[in-house]
């Protein structure tokens, strides 16, 4: 036992000094490998965290949204539809939403203009927010009274705005400043910013501009008989699907979108097989395959000679393989750990700056957000099997071929 341990130590020692021998090559290898692990780990961390975060945050989104679809286009919804929906059995409440996009030519960014639901042409049975109690039993309410868009309880007044943090950053404006808009009739509307939305909420609110209903209608020239779409609250959550089907039956141009579908949309984008993963992942895997192939396809003459010498001086095939195994393990584990840690820092501390260009695309407005680190052992295991194992195998196979040949053949190849 003692000598077995000692033997392993010798072999590890020799492995280390043999790694240090080819400093440039091995450091290059280490850097490249770390980079691959880093990219893969970043993707895994990012997609998983954003999926979890989206699933959590969007739990609060409306149970059913009803759009009006005309000729394949999302169209304005006549207010009269709201009554029709309200009359469907199982519907607890219907609220209208007024929202749209605004392109700011000054900075080239798209904003989302929105009227807070309690303000929009309301058709509520009674003045209070009924959906808080009924549909939202599973929605966590903040324990602390910190309002994310505070306007001291008073409704947003005409002529005022609350802007998202991204908008404030783009235009470098803030509370107390004025923001001019040109209305549909050509009139200039100068709206006062009364507040900005909390920076913590940028992931959902960065590009928002909240405005009063009357301003919204005036800005876009939307008559009061139309709204953008409707939020439907259902009395029994298990009947959401049934109610959605009923809505479609009653109003033929309606397109109901249920919350589960919203959640599904997000989990599929950032899925293993879906979308973003494929794009970045395929490149990384390809790089790794080339790299492993290169490693597997040949040993340098020098390495061959060394194996020959080792075998000639009395190393067994298994010793040589063990040495190469340690070599692979040292390289791959070092890269694995450093890659994972760097990726963790990258995703959860620096806000994934490497991915920013890809996520940003051509948009000028990009949210500054800090993801909640949802990391689990399963992810790390997956990563381990994707990187360390193939590499170690790729290093051992050619060595095994070289190490099983007669020592004198290995010597002759290079010696005399």
């Amino acid at each position: 036992m003692q000598s077995w341990l000692e033997k392993q130590r010798y072999i590890v020692d020799f492995t280390m000094s043999s790694l240090l021998r080819r400093k440039v090559k091995n450091i290059g290898l280490l850097v490249l490998y770390t980079l691959i692990v880093f990219i893969l780990a970043s993707i895994i961390f990012f997609t998983y965290a954003i999926k979890r975060e989206a699933a959590f945050i969007l739990q609060g989104s409306p149970e059913i949204i009803v759009q009006n679809l005309i000729a394949g286009r999302h169209d304005l919804l006549p207010v009269s539809f709201l009554d029709q929906i309200k009359s469907i059995r199982g519907v607890a409440n219907v609220e209208s939403r007024l929202w749209g996009y605004f392109y700011d030519s000054l900075v080239g960014a798209n904003y989302t203009l929105l009227t807070p639901p309690s303000q929009a042409g309301s058709l509520k049975s009674d003045g209070k927010k009924t959906f808080v109690g009924s549909g939202g039993s599973d929605i966590p309410t903040p324990t602390e009274e910190k309002n994310l868009y505070e306007y001291e309880g008073a409704p947003l007044e005409p002529g005022t705005l609350i802007i998202g943090n991204g908008v404030a950053r783009m235009r470098s404006i803030g509370k107390g400043d004025y923001m001019p808009f040109m209305a549909a009739d050509g009139e200039i509307m100068n709206l006062k910013i009364v507040n900005t939305l909390a920076s913590e909420s940028e992931l959902v609110s960065s590009d928002l501009i909240l405005m009063h209903e009357s301003d919204f209608r005036k800005l876009f020239g939307i008559s009061s008989t139309y709204v953008t779409d409707a939020i439907v609250t259902v009395s029994n959550p298990s009947e959401i699907e049934t109610v959605a089907n009923k809505i479609k039956k009653h109003i033929h141009t309606a397109r109901p979108i249920i919350r589960d579908e919203i959640l599904r949309t997000y989990s599929s984008i950032f899925n293993w097989r879906g979308g973003m993963m494929i794009v970045v992942f395929s490149a990384a895997v390809l790089a790794f395959v080339i790299f492993a192939w290169d490693k597997a396809s040949g040993l340098s003459a020098e390495e061959r000679q060394e194996i020959g010498i080792l075998k000639a001086v009395g190393w067994e095939t298994s010793d040589v393989i063990r040495m190469k195994f340690w070599e692979g393990a040292v390289v791959s584990l070092t890269s694995f750990f450093s890659g994972v840690i760097l990726a963790y820092i990258h995703v959860f501390f620096t806000g994934s700056i490497v991915f920013e260009p890809a996520l940003k695309g051509w948009s000028n407005l990009y949210p500054n957000f800090k993801l909640t680190p949802f990391v689990n052992a399963e992810q790390l295991t997956t990563l381990f099997f994707l990187t360390v194992i193939p590499y170690t195998v790729a290093t051992i196979v050619p060595i095994w071929r070289a190490a099983t040949i007669d020592p004198d053949t290995a010597m002759r190849h290079t010696g005399n």
């Binding site: 975060e53 945050i57 969007l58 739990q59 609060g60 989104s61 409306p62 949204i65 759009q67 679809l69 394949g72 286009r73 999302h74 609220e95 960014a109 798209n110 989302t112 639901p117 808080v132 929605i139 966590p140 903040p142 994310l148 868009y149 998202g164 991204g166 939305l197 909390a198 913590e200 909420s201 992931l203 959902v204 609110s205 590009d207 928002l208 909240l210 959605a244 397109r255 109901p256 979108i257 249920i258 579908e261 949309t265 997000y266 984008i269 979308g275 973003m276 794009v279 840690i341 959860f348 890809a358 940003k360 695309g361 948009s363 000028n364 949210p367 680190p373 990391v375 689990n376 052992a377």
Partner: protein
């Protein structure tokens, strides 16, 4: 080393639950539906709200015009 990482993750996760809840309540109160990740086009800004033809509506030749559109997909609900 990795368990340290997992530990840090769970600690900061706990620290951030407050934030998460704030975000969730904002989403709830404003009736928001989407993450503000890609603001470049309306079908990527509100992914769940976009229909199958929005990309085409933005420009007749726009099969896939915006970079982010290439790794998102339309929500098919209510259209089929």
């Amino acid at each position: 080393m990795l368990s340290f990482l997992l530990l840090h993750a769970s600690i900061s996760r706990n620290a951030q639950t407050q934030n998460l809840q704030l975000k969730a309540s904002l989403v709830h109160e404003l009736g928001l539906t989407d993450l503000c990740l890609f603001t470049e086009a309306r079908y990527t800004r509100h992914l769940s709200q976009a229909d199958l033809y929005t990309a085409f509506q933005d420009h007749p030749l726009s099969l896939e015009h915006f970079p982010s559109g290439s790794f998102t997909e339309p929500n098919l609900s209510g259209i089929r």
